[in-house]
């Protein structure tokens, strides 16, 4: 008898048994599940054990100006299974003043730079991250430019960068 992998719905039912009722939705064939921030690490670890072994992406959306949004930041974990090719999107919400989520670097090494990028551009702090430095912006930069309250043309930070001369390099 051929092996039939558990469907995404079965996995979600198991997740709901373990972590309580979760908000799930489907759009264009993509299943999304919202997980509370305090159990996000445990839920992702549980999903990894159930076959979602590939972390495709970690990103974030700032819902500051979004219609009917209840939270400010929505983290997006795109998971996939290399065995069954199923995909699952896990959403975790965070809010000001101190948006914090537990890092998933202990689960997936690939999360390291992805979380650094989210910290850099959105200012979400990942607790337990081994090396939470800015990734694409310079270290002296003091804003998180992908937030919706940051203007497209910047705030003139470039003028304040320290000038390195040949004598002082």
């Amino acid at each position: 008898m051929p092996f039939t992998p558990p469907s995404v719905d079965d996995v979600l039912a198991g997740l709901a048994d373990r972590f309580g009722t979760l908000d799930t939705s489907v759009y264009r064939g993509q299943t999304r599940v919202v997980v509370p921030a305090d159990v996000s690490f445990d839920a992702l670890a549980w999903l990894k054990e159930r076959g979602f072994d590939l972390l495709v992406d970690v990103t974030c959306v700032d819902y500051l100006e979004y219609q009917d949004a209840k939270h400010r930041y929505g983290l997006v974990y795109l998971l996939a299974s290399t065995a069954t090719n199923q995909r699952l999107t896990v959403r975790v919400f965070a809010d000001d003043p101190d948006p914090t989520v537990r890092s998933v670097v202990p689960l997936w090494a690939g999360a390291n730079w992805l979380e650094r990028e989210v910290w850099d551009l959105f200012g979400i702090r990942f607790t337990g991250h081994p090396d939470l430095r800015r990734l694409v912006m310079p270290e002296e930069f003091n804003a998180h430019p992908l937030r919706k309250d940051y203007p497209l043309q910047g705030r003139g930070e470039r003028h304040n960068f320290p000038v390195i001369t040949r004598d002082h390099s």
Partner: protein, 410 residues
């Protein structure tokens, strides 16, 4: 005492501290001929041996994702050209694939095949440069010229197709900017005829070349478990035995209709990545041949009553639907209906999984246009691949990962 006669005590209590004294730091990049683009590596060396490496990126950061929130779905395609500029056509296809997933647009069969053909030509041109650069960096200059000549032929096809050689901006929401002309089809056929011979020549030049094999075999080892754990994709993952290829696993465009193989290797070193790319070019050529010979007739853009693709001039001037559609798409307060939803769609780009996570907010601009770039995850792998190898292996590993800084930093 000269350095030649000096003897070092490597057994005493201070031996550890002493070997530490001989470590030196080398700053590799941001401007270096072998990085090919603007990226920086800080290498900690023990003589010629690399003890540790710290990759740093961001020198080419231009805020593409921020710009994506201020340009319309059709305008942003010009920015995707500048991400992985080695294969801009693949980025165009990826972006509009994601937009059409969000909007729920079904493409015409002809458009699906045209996009498949250009995506595969982009893959060939990307692999040619990537493998050519590995050859160049390990001393095989002739090989690079063979590869680059064929890239020129592909540039020529794209120029005939859409007028631009490098930054094509070819796709549109619901279609493409230009239909295939007989001249384009003739040029692609000529390329299909001549390219296998060059590919054979290239394999004869390098695949069993002693110097090249010694420089790349066993260098930069990545196991299957590490590749999955580090979210590697594309040829880098497939050279380590991960069989994931979105063209087979989640068939998009016309890939479900076409016959091709997923190329994998198990060694996981630079040489395996070279072999996978070489073989993928042959498979891509098979795909282009099949798609071109089975190119469906009919319209290239979705029909005008869907109000997403701009109608042709003929339709605008001779039918009322065409006029209305043209008018609505041109007005700033009209345009397409965008749901308050979010979706992710990815294609198998030459470098790996290239996906866009798009949030729609009812306007013609994306509320958030996240690009999932394969280069970032591959560049993060670099320290573990290079540890223990020599300084001259840095360029071989870097070349085999095919890091494109514009895609890396966005």
């Amino acid at each position: 005492m000269s350095i030649a006669t000096a003897t070092f005590d490597t057994t005493g209590p201070e031996a550890g501290a002493r070997s530490e004294d001989y470590l030196w730091t080398l700053n590799f990049g941001p401007q270096h001929p072998a990085t090919h683009t603007t990226l920086r590596l800080v290498l900690k060396l023990d003589g010629e041996r690399v003890v540790d490496a710290m990759p740093e990126m961001g020198y080419l950061h231009s805020g593409f994702e921020k710009i994506g929130e201020h340009l319309t779905f059709n305008q942003y395609v010009t920015v995707t050209d500048r991400m992985n500029y080695i294969s801009p056509m693949a980025n165009n296809v990826a972006w509009h694939h994601a937009v059409e997933t969000l909007l729920g647009i079904e493409l015409t069969p002809r458009c699906v095949y045209i996009r498949t053909i250009i995506a595969e030509l982009a893959r060939i041109s990307d692999h040619l440069l990537s493998n050519g650069a590995v050859g160049l960096d390990t001393g095989a200059f002739t090989f690079f010229l063979y590869a680059f000549y064929q890239r020129e032929v592909i540039y020529d096809i794209f120029e005939t197709l859409c007028g631009a050689r490098f930054t094509n901006s070819y796709t549109r929401v619901g279609g493409v900017s230009q239909d295939f002309t007989p001249l384009v089809i003739e040029k692609i056929r000529a390329f299909i005829r001549t390219f296998p011979k060059t590919l054979d020549d290239m394999e004869r030049l390098l695949t069993r070349n002693r110097i090249f094999v010694d420089r790349t075999k066993g260098v930069g080892l990545l196991t299957k478990e590490e590749a999955i754990n580090a979210s590697a994709s594309g040829p880098v993952a497939r050279a380590s035995g991960v069989t994931r290829d979105l063209r087979k696993d989640e068939p998009y465009l016309a890939y479900a209709d076409l016959d091709f193989q997923v190329c994998c290797a198990s060694a996981g070193d630079c040489y395996a990545r070279y072999l996978v790319r070489m073989q993928e070019m042959r498979e891509s050529l098979k795909l282009v041949t099949q798609a071109l010979e089975n190119l469906p007739a009919g319209d290239v853009n979705v029909s005008i009553d869907q109000r997403v693709a701009r109608p042709t001039k003929q339709q605008v001037y001779s039918s009322i639907e065409g006029t209305i559609s043209h008018f609505e798409l041109s007005m700033a307060n009209r345009g397409f209906e965008v749901p308050h939803e979010e979706s992710y769609a990815a294609i198998e780009a030459p470098n790996g999984e290239l996906g866009f996570y798009i949030v729609g907010d009812g306007s013609e601009n994306a509320y958030r246009a996240r690009c999932r770039p394969p280069s970032v995850l591959h560049f993060a792998l670099f320290p573990q691949l290079i540890r223990g190898h020599t300084l001259s292996d840095v360029v071989a590993v870097l070349g085999s990962l095919n890091i494109i800084a514009a895609e890396l930093d966005r």
